[in-house]
Every structure is written in structure tokens, then in C-alpha cells.
Symmetry: C2
Subunit: 409 residues, 2 copies
């Protein structure tokens, strides 16, 4: 059944927005326009929710100038959804896709979206409906298997690096303990990116805690104390998803058992973890100035903080998906692979949908230091090309003025 | 005693850092170098704390390339301090200044710094010590009297506008109620800047709460409910310093009387207010997706988010202070005045130190809407030139695809 397949295309966005997810959307649309076998170019609003409601928009009608501007605009232009459809819903979705003669389907998202795409494809196979469906990777968490890294990560990592750069200077000017809570429920890649902020020997973050290592409050307090004794200040980067050795989220542990709706273990869109850690430092050490910030949704949607490498790759993975779909009867997910060598270069490979679905990827051991409170040089080598050039933070040399003795009266 | 006064110059930074406070520092140094009567150019580390400890650095020795780079670097390069010296300490400081033959003194900061400068100057007058001392304005809160606006505000306002732009798009893609807590203990200028994010009719922030108006939880819940019913979503910008009609901070009110050290009314560096407001919305309405972010210190120290107008003015107020000081025996604070006319233009005036010291400025009534939950067009006209050109957020036109009837089986 290989060869030219005439029919309509449907594309949708899923999961948390990123600042480059619209690059993927626009990349796919622009590529699709080059292939006459793709007839209607439809978008579903709010991911599979829109498919179920048959809320489709005609993307072929969008002016190119609009598409260009949308590509540079953060967040998901088609709207998004946090919903993994049941097998029953997938069956229903598939019926709708057939009714609209959708032959090309592209779903931009994380591992749940890959799984949805996989199930839809199984439905198609069962009834022998020729269906070319692709998952286009996206997640600031950088936790998709098969990928060296994922579109969305580089820009979010750039935001985190810049934020910590500024915050480190703030802390240098007005010393104390500063705790910054960074997104990442299961994977520490984004929190680890805070280390890219370091330019001077004594620059923060001085401590980095990731969900890949069991978090011990005692060890944390002792680590903070040690840094504070040495530098008179301490900047800490901590993943929202840190858990103790029993896998209990630290936010749950610190806020106790009688937590109300305020204290539920929702991780993003709340300052609870940062505040609880700050309180612990205040109570258990003699350090008086302790502050916490939770970077929250700014990490994934801040305009103008874009890694150009990330934007380019987000576009290219989508183009690759469309190109592959029109070439032959096929399905899969586009994975970013890094080529060996000193210069940063990547290639895109089509991998089976199932290999990306379900499980997530974690920080490899070689990226985390032995004590579990920092990252390694290997991680920095890995992450540097993904965020683009970072600005240089300058310091005064501070040549001391010789002190003058008090005059005798 | 007018005319050339030979002696050393001392400059220091005070209060919260900004991304352009080093423009003022470097502007003063570069200007000072042009005047041979200024001999040593010293900086005090951490404001008056450094003066009391005689921790001075020789700024004349700093390479120009370093100074240029420092000017573009956020936070206070000399370090800063949150300390208003007592009259006794001012007396001691003044003795130190005389010992180091400091004839030119410049203090970059808010109204507390203006007051310190005033007291030092009174000491000088009492003993007939010729002393030219100037306060150089700085505050992201924009709350200095005599000023149309203050250096630091434009860049922080730009950060807030960009953050809300992205967050509004995030909320548009994944609807719910989103509460964003913005700095400003007594003045709402920075929170008001969130309104600069609006580009489309339905763009957030949909509600804005400022410390200038008594905050009623009931009204807030009703406002949120109204917006949510209309748009299916709601983005709220709220000042950290909002108080009820009795002037009790809302964070204190919502967290109850049995608050522990965790719940103390510290406003910045904690997510408590946002979390408490989000909890109230969840409990009192039927809206399930409610999130809060507290922008925290990122607002005042984020690299690369700089208003060029702000950077230029921060530099120029400092140059003006030095120029005035060398010209004649004088003292004062440099105030930014806006010239009438359509085109944005400012002039700098020297005003008495006492007129800037102590009290702070608030949002004028004409900038706040009648209901007290939004700003006016007048505020937008006021604020637009201060933040610089903002990027255009693009949206798809979303031409609907006609729904197809289900096929009869």
C-alpha cells in the first residue's frame, strides 16, 4: 500500500505548552502544503478533546504571515489538553477520523500523546484503514525515551539558567539562603539546567536536588549549612518532584498528614514546597534571611526567552514527520539523536510509537554527582548546546582602598 | 563656597537590586572621571554597612570594559543593604567620610536612601564641612515622590508584562483560574504593568488588585466567578501587599491567627498569598483548575529583560547627579519629570532630599478603575513608553471546518 495516499491531515497539540510548540505546528503545516496528496489541513482544538467534539479548524486558510508570527508565539496555538483517552475513546476518535477522511495524523506532545497515537494506529491496522500517524515530540521535562533531548527543553532550560543567573547576583548583593523550585515531576533535567548559570567560582546554584535521588531533609540542611558557612550565602535549585527514600513527595512529608486542600501534593502552580523548605532552614539553622521562589508556569511560556536551536529543532521534527508520512505507509515518533563529535549536530530518526509511549526517561547517573546534590561536568557538556549562548554576567574587580587610621584627637 | 571642590567621591547602592541599578553606578563613575576635581572614586560595599566597616573599593582602577559589562549586568555590583542607619550611625558615617576626605557622596536607592543622604548632609552643614551629596533614584516599586517614574521600574514592568503575556497564552491553551502575585508592598505600579500584556479583547489579566484599594475576598471571588462564566478562564494579577479595609495584609487574614513562622506576613520570597487565594477560589467556587504563581525575585533581577529607556534614564540620572555636584555647592535628589506632549520626553530636575525621603508615592486615582479591580487607559498611556516595544503575540484565525454528519450504518 506504499506510495501516494490522498486524504486529509489532522494535527493537534497535547500536554503542557512550551515556547516552541507552535514551531512544530507551523513546521508541519508548511511542509504539508508542499504535498498535493495532503488535501485538507485541519487542526483539532484542545488535542483529543477537540477531536471527540469534532472541533476542527482549517489551517490551510491561515495566512502565511499569521503562521510565521504564531511560530514565534509561546503556548499551544490550537489549545491543549491534559487527558489520556481510554481505549473506548480511542475507538470513537478513530471513527471520527475515518469519517473526515483523515489519512495523516500528527500529535505533538509527550509520552502520553505517543501512546494515544499508538492506540489510534492499532485501530487503523485492525480495520485495514490506511493511516499514517506520527507523534511529534515535545516536553520541557526532556523525559522522552529514544531522544537525546526534546523540543521545548532547550528554551525552558534557557529560562531557568537566566533566572538563576539573575537570582544568584541578587543573592550575592543581598546575602542569605535562596531556594528556587523548578519544574520536573520525575526527571531532573530542567532543574539541572540551573547549573548553566555558573560563571564564577562562587556562583550559585550551590546545591541542586533532583527527583532521581532520594531527598533527605537532614542532608539538605547540613549541605545548606556547609555552603552558608563557607560563602555567607547559598542558592539552592530543587525539582518540584523531589521525594524521600520511600518515594513520598517531600512537599507532602513537610506539610504533615493533616494537610487540607491547600496542602495537597499538587506540584506546579503552588509555592508550598519552596515555603516548606525555607521554613525548615529557618527553624533548624541560625540563618535568618531565607527566601523561596517557585518559578512556575513562567518556565514554559515566557515570550522572547527562546533557544534558537530549540526553535529550529521543534520545526524540523515536525517537517520530518510530514515528509516521512507522505513518502510511504508508515507511522512512528520522530526522535532527536545527537551525532558524535565535538561540534553539536543532530539527526532525526523515526522510532516505533511504542518505544516512546508510557515510560519516561530520567537523568543518567553520569549526570549526577556522587553526593546527589549537584550535577557533573558531563551534564554541562550535554546541556550547553541546547540553550544557546548565554549572556556574560560581569563583576567589578573590587580593588580595595587602604583603610585610614582614625585621627588622634 | 561655590566652585571647584577637590576631594574624593564615594558611591554606594542600597535596597532591592534592579536590572539597571548598575547603569547608575557606571554612569556616575564615567561622569566623575571627566572632572579633575574628583580625585579618588570609591565605592562602599553593601551600602552604608560598608561605610561603617570602611569597606571601600577603588572604582577608578576598574577597566572601562569591565564597567561597560557591569552596566548591563543585573543586581547591585557593589552589594546592597536593607538598613536605615540611626542618627547615631549617621554621625559615625559622617566622621568616616570626613576622614577619607569624601567631598562627593552619591547614594543610589529608594526613599530610605534619600533620608540617609539627607541626615548625612545635615551633619555636614552643622560642622560647615563642604559636602556635595546626592540621592540617585532607584526602585522597581516606582513609589518615589517628585518622580514621574523611577529607574528600575520600566525593566521590572517589562518583565511583568512579558510574564503575563506568556501566562495568559498558557491559560488560554489550558483554561482555569490563574493567580499571579506581583511585587509591590504599598504601591501597585508594578502589578498594574500586567495590563500592558493585553493585546486581544479577551486577553488577561482579567482582574487586577492593587494595595491602593481595600481588598475584599467576597468581591474577589465574585469577580473571578463573573470572568470565568464569561470566558471559561481567568487570569488575575494581584499585588503582594494587598490589605483589607482595616489595613490587615490579606496574607495574614487568610492564613489565620495561629500562623507560625511559616505563615508570617513576609511578602516576597514566599508563595503564601497566591496559594491562600487559590485555595479560597477552589473552596468557594466550583472551578477545579486553579493555580497560583508568585513572580518573586525574578522580577527585579532577570538578565536580558531590560527596557532600553529605563537603562538610559538610570544612567542619565546618575550623570546628572555628578555634573550638578561638581558645578556648585549643592545637594539633592535627581527626579525624572515627563515633559508634556505626545512624544515621550523627560527632563531631570534636582529636588530637595527631604522631598523624596520618608513617604512613598501611590498610584493616583485616575490610574485605577471605579470598581478597584482594574487599571484605566490613562495608566496604559503612562506606562507604555517606560517598558519599550513589546512583542506581538499572534493567534490563529481558526476558520472552522464544517461538521460532517455521522454516516448511516
Amino acid at each position: 500500500m506504499a506510495g501516494k495516499l490522498k486524504g486529509n491531515m489532522l494535527i493537534a497539540q497535547s500536554g503542557g505548552p512550551t515556547v516552541v510548540i507552535n514551531q512544530s505546528l507551523v513546521g508541519a503545516i508548511m511542509e504539508a502544503k508542499k504535498h498535493p496528496e495532503i488535501q485538507g489541513i485541519y487542526g483539532a482544538l484542545n488535542g483529543i478533546k477537540g477531536v471527540l467534539k469534532e472541533s476542527f479548524v482549517n489551517l490551510r486558510k491561515e495566512p502565511v504571515s499569521t503562521l510565521r508570527a504564531v511560530a514565534r508565539t509561546p503556548s499551544s496555538a490550537l489549545g491543549t489538553v491534559r487527558q489520556k483517552p481510554s481505549n473506548e475513546e480511542c475507538e470513537k476518535i478513530f471513527q471520527i477520523l475515518m469519517r473526515y477522511d483523515i489519512r495523516y495524523f500528527f500529535y505533538i506532545g509527550g509520552n502520553d500523546s505517543a501512546e494515544t497515537t499508538f492506540i489510534l494506529n492499532e485501530n487503523a491496522k485492525r480495520v485495514n484503514y490506511e493511516f499514517r500517524c506520527f507523534h511529534i515530540p515535545k516536553t520541557i521535562d526532556n523525559d522522552l525515551r529514544e531522544n537525546d533531548h526534546t523540543p521545548g527543553y532547550g528554551s525552558a532550560a534557557r529560562f531557568v539558567a537566566l533566572a538563576i543567573m539573575g537570582d544568584n547576583l541578587d543573592n550575592l548583593a543581598l546575602p542569605g539562603v535562596k531556594i528556587d523550585v523548578i519544574m520536573g515531576r520525575h526527571a531532573g533535567f530542567l532543574t539541572a539546567a540551573s547549573a548553566l548559570a555558573r560563571q564564577y567560582q562562587d556562583d550559585g546554584p550551590h546545591l541542586i536536588y533532583l527527583p532521581e535521588r532520594a531527598f533527605s531533609l537532614e542532608q539538605f540542611l547540613s549541605d545548606v549549612q556547609t555552603v552558608y558557612s563557607r560563602l555567607g550565602r547559598c542558592v539552592v535549585a530543587v525539582s518540584e518532584g523531589i521525594c524521600d527514600a520511600d518515594n513520598t513527595p517531600i512537599v507532602v512529608k513537610l506539610l504533615g498528614d493533616d494537610r487540607d486542600s491547600f496542602n495537597n501534593p499538587q506540584l506546579s502552580g503552588t509555592g508550598a514546597l519552596g515555603d516548606a523548605l525555607a521554613r525548615a532552614v529557618k527553624e533548624k539553622t541560625k540563618i535568618s534571611r531565607v527566601r523561596a521562589d517557585t518559578f512556575g508556569y513562567l518556565q514554559r511560556s515566557f515570550p522572547e526567552v527562546i533557544s534558537e536551536v530549540d526553535a529550529k529543532e521543534a520545526r524540523e521534527v515536525a517537517e520530518m514527520a510530514v515528509k516521512t508520512a507522505v513518502k510511504a505507509d508508515s507511522d512512528g515518533s520522530v526522535a532527536i539523536r545527537r551525532l558524535p563529535g565535538k561540534k553539536y549536530r543532530v539527526t532525526y530518526e523515526i522510532v516505533p510509537l511504542a518505544s516512546v509511549a508510557k515510560e519516561t526517561r530520567h537523568m543518567p547517573d553520569e549526570f549526577i554527582n556522587l553526593q546527589g546534590n549537584d550535577i557533573t561536568e558531563k551534564f554541562l557538556d550535554y546541556a550547553r548546546p541546547l540553550v544557546g549562548q548565554l549572556p556574560k554576567m560581569a563583576r567589578l574587580k573590587k580593588y580595595p582602598v587602604r583603610q585610614l587610621p582614625e585621627k588622634k584627637v
